[in-house]
Amino acid sequence: MVQRLRVRYAKRGRLRFTSHRDISRAVERAVRRSDIPVAFSAGFSPHPKISYAGAAPTGVASEAEYLEIGVSSTCDLEQVRAELDASLPPGLDVLEVIEARAGSLADRLEASVWLLRLPGADVAAAEQAVKEFEAADRVEVERLTKKGMRRFDARQAVRSVTVVNEHERTAGQEPGPPCVILRMVVRHETPAVRPDDVLMGLRLVAGFAPPSPPEVTRLAQGPLDATTGEPGDPFDVERADGDL
């Protein structure tokens, strides 16, 4: 392996229903179809050197997913981006490819920005629930995991949660049914707190229950900036190296 490539890609539209395993199969096949010289692990059943960091859950769209590919000869970054993007189905879109510098990518992904669209929900009720949630110290929620029902705190990982003004978004269009949009910055912790868990927290503290499942999008993930409270770009290290 002569080069490690870091890839930012998006998972959009109906492709949000892919699971992490679906994506890894799709990426392996896309790499084989394109001419990217992926490196293989040694041993009896060699595997392509592709690793994933912090994949969004099934059903959640994302503008900021990350993976790393080891290649066996030096590649042109823009060519890799274009070829990989062309080989993946529309909806799995390759946004950026850089050459890795020192440090683990996964370690840089400290927090995510999530956008939750809640069709048919009430704005005032949402604002009230957010207020009560932020006022609480702990909000214990339950989730069914592979190991059974798990109880954990959904409050401490949430750095911020705000109700976005819906009217700006649909300006110029016909007014649709009412819709609440929540924007939240959530730290990556163990156990992971997902947007669903925060929504469950809002229900528990204030009885806020949207009538239909949320449409969730991850907008960004990266190192958490202590002053702004927002995640930065995880590729800043590579960019600072002056290669790009």
């Binding site: 109906r14 892919t18 699971s19 199969r25 084989r32 293989f40 009896f44 059943s45 099934t58 529309p90």
Partner: protein, 640 residues
């Protein structure tokens, strides 16, 4: 009139179901054509879950061929799991295609491919969700023609009430021909409605329209005769046979799913048909004669298919892949071409033959030699003569000895239980055979690190085979023999721990037997099971034997027949069988003679290498054996 995508209505349901990606479509190499530019629109269904249906070769081939035709479009639909079915019902979303999410009822044809009879209840779910009346006679001009194909369509009588039509045999040419008939009929303004279209299809002799035939019964329940009920309908319907597979190199662009499916590889059929003459094997009987695809076409298809799909494994499919006249060259050529590219090659369906070890060695050139599979099918020498599986114990031991000594550590052996004339001792013979296999392996390797797995399932007599007259073994006997075999294997101190044992209980085979050799009266059982919630009968967690038996009891009350009558009853030579008017080309007298030979332990050779024994297929169908060798080789791929 255009149709709207159902996706906006489906989308809110998807977060609530398991594996939603299977309903989303958008697979690599899938096609969405403009609705209004097409005249003939096919919805192709595989009546099982997406993960099973997507890799199906038949559907992929027809999908590609139909979409290549001008004025024709084809989309795919699969059985939805009960979680989505419930949500679709409560929110009024009809059965949809995964390509453009169009409602299935809007299409001209709903073509359903039945590899197995256990998909019948899923057909009813799809029809009901689509808003298509279950009974063909209730359908109007707004409903598609519901057309069955696949191996189970060689006896479509149990689902005759639910079908408008069925086709037998290879689908490539008949799908195009049907499209042409529909295009012409629509072009004329659809004169005479649905019945005229069905009449035009039926009169070709290549499409079976069940409602144009009346079935008359004897008072004792046997069929008296099956006759056309209107003029212009042929008394027999024939199967279709594609000659020259090199002219039909499909799939060219294999569908690559995002969801995980049962076969994650690019599959190429290397030949169709098989004349080994195994008497239990319906596929071998109804797909005659053998037609090979040439080594060079196979090489081209593999190259293009891998490039189009990105799959890392190639499967060379057929009913007995090692029988291709140039399989050695194919194996070596492909192994050379893809050496060092991390591309796996697999050869399912191989015989007990040392030559196969050479092939397997070639295919595992750079990989681990883990397991090899052989199918002796019968546990005793006599049993193998009855089923015409010409493998001696000596062959088997010699083959596994070679395998073990060349580094293979595990051998899997397939058998059947409940074969005609079978006695306890024939099944217990499997235990002796397995022990001898381990003994040979230990001697060949000088190590105790060799394993053998015995896998065994219940035999179901199938239409158009010499065993179509046979009594199916009752499930109590099958289960008892399987238990005794288990005890004989497990109880052995010396070898027991080296032998694995996998078996299926005998009850599902009885239902399969009812559906395989059933007639139109079985339709009411299928309907009753479905109404009682029967779905996904091929899945053990969904299958309910008791539900089938209770439904049969209700449906057959007042009839002179019952489940035993259809399954464990032996038929006499001249009884009219429900599928006698459907012609696979096999001469009925030859089949009967082969049945008599079976009972008398007489074996029949393969007609590829010995003179014709008059099974009847080639003269009836106007076909001939097409085999190599061509003498050509696979050249190395040029590096781009």
């Amino acid at each position: 009139m255009s149709v709207e995508s159902l996706f906006p209505r489906l989308e809110p349901l998807l977060p609530k179901v398991q594996k939603p990606i299977q309903y989303v479509g958008g697979e690599l190499n899938s096609t969405v054509k403009d609705w209004d530019e097409a005249t003939v629109r096919w919805a192709l269904m595989y009546p099982d879950a997406y993960e099973v249906g997507l890799p199906n070769q038949g559907v992929q081939i027809l999908y590609e061929i139909l979409n290549e035709l001008p004025e024709t479009l084809a989309e795919r639909t699969y059985a939805v799991w009960p979680d989505l079915e419930a949500l679709m019902r409560s929110s009024g979303v009809p059965q949809f295609t995964v390509d453009a999410h169009r409602p299935v009822r809007a299409f001209d044809v709903l073509g359903v491919s039945f590899s197995t009879e256990l998909g019948y209840t899923n057909l009813l779910t799809a029809l009901d969700l689509a808003g298509i009346p279950l009974d063909a006679v209730d359908r109007t001009g707004d409903d598609p023609i519901v057309l069955a194909g696949g191996h189970a369509a060689f006896n479509p009588e149990p689902i005759a009430d639910f079908l408008d039509a069925a086709v037998l045999g290879d689908g490539e040419q008949i799908a195009i021909a049907i499209s042409e008939v529909i295009r012409e009929w629509k072009g004329e303004g659809a004169p005479g409605g649905r019945d005229e279209l069905l009449m035009r299809l039926a009169s070709t002799g290549g499409v079976y329209v069940p409602k144009f035939y009346d079935v008359e019964y004897h008072p004792d329940g046997r069929i008296k005769r099956v006759v056309p009920n209107r003029s212009g309908v042929p008394s027999r319907v024939f199967k279709h046979t594609v000659m020259d597979l090199d002219e039909w190199p499909y799939p060219k662009k294999p569908l690559v799913p995002l969801a995980e499916t049962v076969h994650e590889r690019f599959s190429v059929e290397i030949f169709r048909g098989c004349t080994r003459g195994c008497r239990f094997c319906q596929a071998g009987m109804i797909t005659r004669p053998v037609r090979e695809r040439s080594i060079t076409t196979i090489g081209d298809m593999v190259e293009a298919g891998l490039k189009e799909s990105g799959f890392s494994e190639v499967g060379l499919l057929s009913l007995s892949s090692a029988d291709h006249s140039e399989i050695g060259e194919i194996a070596k050529g492909l192994a050379d071409r893809y050496e060092g590219t991390q591309t796996g090659l697999s050869l399912p369906s191989t015989r007990v033959d040392a030559f196969n070890i050479d092939l397997a060695n070639e295919f595992s050139r750079n990989g681990r030699r883990s397991g090899l599979t052989f199918a002796p099918e019968g546990g005793s020498e006599r049993m193998r003569k009855v089923i015409n599986k010409m493998v001696t114990e000596e062959d088997l031991i010699r083959t596994v000895t070679t395998a073990y000594s060349q580094g293979w550590r595990q051998v899997k052996l397939y058998f059947m239980c409940g074969l005609p004339t079978e006695e306890d001792i024939d099944v217990l013979g499997i235990a002796d055979l397995a022990k001898k296999v381990i003994k040979a392996g230990r001697e060949a390797t000088g190590s105790r690190d060799v394993r053998c797995t015995v896998s065994i399932g219940g035999f179901v007599p199938k239409p158009h085979t010499p065993f179509q007259w046979a009594a199916q073994c009752d499930h109590e006997t099958v289960d008892r023999r399987l238990r005794e075999l288990r005890d004989a294997l497990r109880g052995d101190k010396e070898y027991g721990r080296a032998i694995g044992y996998r078996y299926h209980d005998g009850k599902p085979s009885i239902v399969e037997g009812l559906l395989s050799r059933g007639d139109r009266r079985v339709g009411s059982v299928i309907r009753a099971v479905w109404e009682d919630g029967g779905r996904f009968d091929g899945w053990s967690e969904h299958f309910s034997f008791d539900r089938w038996m209770a439904a049969a009891e209700r449906a057959f009350s007042g009839e002179p027949v019952d489940v035993d009558w259809y399954t464990t009853r032996e038929r006499e030579e001249h009884e009219v069988l429900p599928w006698d008017h459907l012609d696979a080309g096999l001469d009925r007298e030859w089949l009967w003679q082969d049945w008599q030979d079976a009972v008398n332990d007489v074996e029949v050779e393969d007609c590829r290498w010995t003179p014709c024994y008059d099974c009847g297929v080639c003269p009836t169908m106007g076909t001939e054996i097409q085999i190599g060798p061509t003498g050509r080789k696979l050249l190395p791929l040029t590096v781009v």
